[in-house]
């Protein structure tokens, strides 16, 4: 398999331009190389700004006041974050932006005349926190990253923020690998990869000849996922391809050792009631699964029947118990003798979240 080369420059510059090149082996459609503006997460930016400790403390006091004023308003409105959660986010925000964020908590007995070094200007810190509170812009888009398993993944508008529930898919794959070691050396697909989270999580547990193809319809997701793959040095193992679900996978019919996906699964009618951080800011493309929420899951299952090789593994994330049960029943009745060893697995909150199983 030929892996597409990545054309990213060194991270650290404020914005990165990525020329997206479609790998030769993928879909016949040829798109012109597009330029996606990648935002560098705050924690990766150089310490090129500074502020006096007193100005920074003024900002911190203001930001805490903003968070405090929220109280339980957002919780009551749409089950959004409360002040406690926003305080925690504020601490993480400082962790990412300030060279030595412990300075802030040291209530200045001795007046430190020195400036504190920052990865974003003080003005930007004000603007960003205002967006967090007033526009409900997700914290992860504010700092440009999300901590997921032991990874720190770059995210930005246009890419779904990987959820803590989804972390578990990697554990499920790990279990599958321990039950059948051959899978670790095979070819895997992460469909609708978004930030590349699952693909990278899996890439790190596969064997030396294991490979992952991560697909996404969104050019922004492809750019962000490629950036993340590169940052973890997995460009030799994970190939990111642009296209819908299996469309960029025509060359691997019946060859996949495993398929994993966290496709959009929210029923269309539920989209308008979502928490503002999600509904107003995250890409609908990554959330809306049609009337039943299962349009994409069903499409993926239908494809998996022919793409998986015998004994291949699958794990799909769903909206919960109802979808899990429906999908398992569907696979059993529509593909008798094709799939086997089904499991419905709960997430850490006790919601039946994943359907897993094997190709016969």
């Amino acid at each position: 398999m030929k892996l597409s080369s990545s054309l990213f420059s060194v991270p650290g510059i404020r914005t990165l331009r990525a020329n997206l090149r479609r790998p030769i082996s993928s879909s016949p459609k040829v798109s012109l190389p597009s330029a996606i503006k990648l935002k560098t997460p705050i924690f990766l930016r150089p310490l090129q700004f500074s502020a006096s400790l007193s100005d920074l403390k003024k900002w911190h006091k203001w930001a805490k006041g903003m968070a405090l004023s929220v109280g339980s308003t957002f919780v009551d409105l749409d089950n959004g974050p409360d002040s406690t959660l926003l305080f925690r986010e504020l601490n993480w925000f400082m962790e990412d932006s300030i060279e030595d964020h412990s300075l802030i908590s040291q209530l200045g007995v001795q007046n430190n005349p020195e400036n504190v070094r920052l990865r974003a200007s003080l003005d930007e810190l004000y603007t960003l926190w205002k967006q967090r509170i007033e526009e409900r812009r997700p914290f992860q888009y504010i700092v440009g990253c999300e901590h997921w398993r032991d990874l720190v993944l770059s995210v930005q508008e246009g890419v779904l923020i990987p959820r803590p529930e989804t972390e578990f898919i990697v554990d499920l794959v790990e279990d599958a690998l321990s039950s059948n070691g051959e899978l670790a050396e095979g070819l895997w697909a992460d469909l609708g990869t978004g930030s590349g989270a699952i693909a990278i999580g899996i890439g790190r547990i596969l064997g030396a000849s294991g490979r992952v193809i991560a697909t996404d319809l969104s050019p922004v997701a492809v750019a962000v996922a490629s950036f993340n793959v590169q940052r973890y040095g997995l460009q030799g193992m994970i190939e990111v391809r642009e296209g819908s679900w299996f469309e960029p996978l025509k060359d691997v019919e019946g060859k996949l050792a495993g398929i994993v996906s966290n496709p959009p699964y929210i029923p269309s009618d539920d989209i308008s009631g979502l928490q503002a951080e999600v509904g107003r800011h995250e890409p609908r493309l990554a959330l809306d699964g049609g009337i039943s929420g299962m349009n994409d899951l069903l499409h993926i299952i239908n494809g998996a029947a022919s793409k998986l090789k015998p004994k291949g593994f699958f794990a799909f994330e769903t909206n919960g118990q109802k979808q899990c049960k429906f999908l398992k029943d569907y696979m059993e009745s529509s593909y008798p003798g094709i799939f086997c060893n089904f499991n419905i697995v709960s997430d850490f909150a006790g919601v039946e979240r994943f359907v897993t199983g094997f190709r016969q």
Binding site: V75, S179, E282, N343, S346, F348, V351
Partner: protein, 257 residues
Amino acid sequence: MSTTTPFLIKSIHLLHKISITSNNFFKASSLSISTPIPSARSSSAITWSRQNLVLHIGGGGGGGGGMLYCSNYSSSAGEVRAADYLKLSDQELMRQCEMDTFKASGPGGQHRNKRESAVRIKHLPTGVIAQAVEDRSQHMNRASALARLRTQLALKVRNKVDLDSYSPPLELLRILPPASTIRGSECGPQIGPKNPKFVLGMQALLDLIFSVEGSVSEAAKLLGLSTGALSRLILSDDSLRMAVNELRASKGMKPLK
């Protein structure tokens, strides 16, 4: 090896009547599996949700849910040395635990963007609990909670020590300062409190100090150290100092400072 029954110091009361045989352990854990998961009705309420971490082990076995459990963990028939818990790998230790996580109301998953990724781990054989909330991912909270559980196990689970034939285990020798007359060069450089292996030595040290009923000078003699040198070692770690001082207070002795 006959006097090695693990027991819990008095302030830790959970489950301490369960002797650790595979059979009893099975009962205890089945109980936890059948505990219904509490669900939050009000939109602001947060409750804990429980799940046993071994549920997915041996995946692909069909019949989802919680019943895959016990057969994966049944090898520990008879009495277990408490110190042995700390020698288990993370995965093995997790198999003896149940994990509680914040369960928020609503469907979760893609619906939700809230970093309430607190993890609470309960070690079933001993009832010792540890938790973590401050990390930014579920995975890291789990790792932090597990590291804390190891510390808690070292602090709270005691092995009896036979003082007449006492010889300190290697884990303990490793945390002793080079001044110790019984510490051979094979122990390598002294392991400090920041090293994850410190908890193993700490547990053995507490076993000894409990056996000599809190007397630092007695313990120091057995370790080839001056009383002052052992005091300094105890004071070098907050949790160790607190455990020793709690014991000394219960015996009417002055705290180490």
